[in-house]
Amino acid sequence: MGDYFSFDRFLVRIGQITPYVLVNFKMVFWAMLIGTICAIAVAILRLKKIPVIEQILIVFISYMRGTPLLVQMCVAYYGIPIVFGNLIYNAFGINLNRLDAIVFVIIAFILNEAAFLGEIFRGAILSVPTVQTEAGLSIGMTRLQILFRIVLPQAINVAIPQYGVDLIGVFHNTALAFTLGVLDMMSRARTLGVSTGHTLEGFVVVAIIYIIISLILKALFYLLEKKFQYGRR
């Protein structure tokens, strides 16, 4: 088999690569935090069916769903400084060309999540039967009370499993970020591989970290899902 894989090097790689998972976490954290807020806005705006805004959102969503994430990242990385560079420099004195690549990767994730999660949330809200709203109206509740006390709690129940799948997907997709020069697990595994000539161990470590964390996330969402079942089994 030759000297392609050694257990000792594998153990060394664990220590060398694991700390970099924090960089991937950082991308997931900001992508999900701001992405979720944007997605709620997208879902509500689409449900309100405001002319012009609705068409813009439809185009935006079909761009996000119709193009690979890697392409979106490249467009954000190379496009945003060209389009908004001068504007932001004049307004805030920030030179976008000097900004870390991770910022653009996170922006790409946020936009992508705004579209994908937006559709998940919209579907979840639409899945709540109209009679739930009518029942609230009939006892004299206001629309806002119904939204927060009746519709959203039931929509959450529908959205949680899909949100979990999406979150794990985002975590996996952070593996693309190294292509733009973000120093994460993948990039670390690659540099170690190039500098030592032993590539495989590093990527095996990355794969194992991805699996373990995905399983943990899956379990967490399973528990969360159970909490919102309202008596259903």
Binding site: S138, G140, M141, Y230, G231
Partner: protein, 250 residues
Amino acid sequence: MIELKNVKKKFGNNEVLHDVSLSVNDGEVVVLLGPSGSGKTTFLRCINFLERADAGILKFDEEEIDLKRAKKKQILDIRRNSAFVFQNYGLFNNKTALQNIMEGLVVVQKRSKEEARKIALDSLEWVGLKDKADYYPSQLSGGQQQRVGIARAVALNPKFILFDEPTSALDPELVGETLSVIKKVAKKGITMIIVTHEMSFAQEVADRVIFMDGGVVVEEGAPDEVFYKPKEERTKKFLARILQKDMYYI
């Protein structure tokens, strides 16, 4: 007293209500009968603005409200004085039986949680479901859900209750328990307007029967009159069809 005058409603080109008027005295139980598509349910839904009528006037508590132009406050006022029992129960799926009843008492009537809880438990007991207080709707049978729905309506202490085919989504063996609870509500003296296809129940519970067809009131009167001595041809035909259907059940 609730008075409805000249209520009209179209869905697109389909005129569902063609000038319907009705007045209901305090404590009176009125049953709306008629073939499906005759506008009964739409009429009921127009009364508490689940459907916005195209024209018509609602007179309630000395106040005259234009059904088409009613303001938010007027609509809330009507809804807070009335309750609606839905065909498919309309229980809040994310709340237990007890919480379903408490919701309106706490959120709308601003009662304290303890007080609401007490009222809710009393009214669950009243429909014979005190032991199901902590069950979610998905854990209850259709008949039980509808009884909770009725308990929720009654607990709010409304001036009138609207029933929209309260038993037509139920399995035949669950219809009886629900009807007997509605009869209990009638005995309380609450004003009720009921849309139903249960003829013998209608005959028993109604003070007055209204027969609707094609978006108009065809005939109205005491139950015995309408059932046994219908004047209009359309009423006779409808009753003949319905009674025939009842025969099949037997």
